[in-house]
Symmetry: C2
Subunit: 121 residues, 2 copies
Amino acid sequence: MMSQSLLLVAHGSRRAASNEEVEALTDKMRQSAGDRFLSVRCAFLELAEPSIPDGIDQCITDGAKEVLVLPYFLSAGRHVSEDIPHEVEGRQTAHADVDIRILPYMGADSRIADLLLSTVG
Amino acid sequence: MMSQSLLLVAHGSRRAASNEEVEALTDKMRQSAGDRFLSVRCAFLELAEPSIPDGIDQCITDGAKEVLVLPYFLSAGRHVSEDIPHEVEGRQTAHADVDIRILPYMGADSRIADLLLSTVG
């Protein structure tokens, strides 16, 4: 599995603090993942860097043969259904030897209801 | 605790399907919660109904003496730090006998990194 990279993809914000929250989450995921992935990175659909194509290319430069794109989105809007696939498609075409796969977006996770409930004192 | 209501607050979208995802999540939370709350509802900051004030008033009509407002947001932007508190403040002033409390927004949950990692095959 060490030829896999994980790329957390967020929307991106004009607020630096919001983008930094995504970077901090990515750092935390990297630590939790141990040596499960070659690299764990983040990228942004818009308003922040790196872009999704740049993030994918960074993973490939890391040596990834498989890039797992994980959309950090709550709902299946246009960004999840069209924009992210479009960005990924371009890099998949450019790197036919690398498998770039989009995972289900975060909001699709059936455990979120229980996660939210358990935060309530 | 049966005098508590839980109000999940989402941004709201022009896409009906996104709002329906929030409603489905709310239904799931209501089922999971069993009889822990008097009611479990959702409300939207903008673009969808009910509004936050209307959602709070529905909880109070249910008989709630305490309304827990849970922001379904990934980052602590202006919506979380200013807009939601502003909406809540107006209803708190109108209902001095009810305790309306805003919980930490979803993205602040330290378990999200592990939740995301565990979705990756």
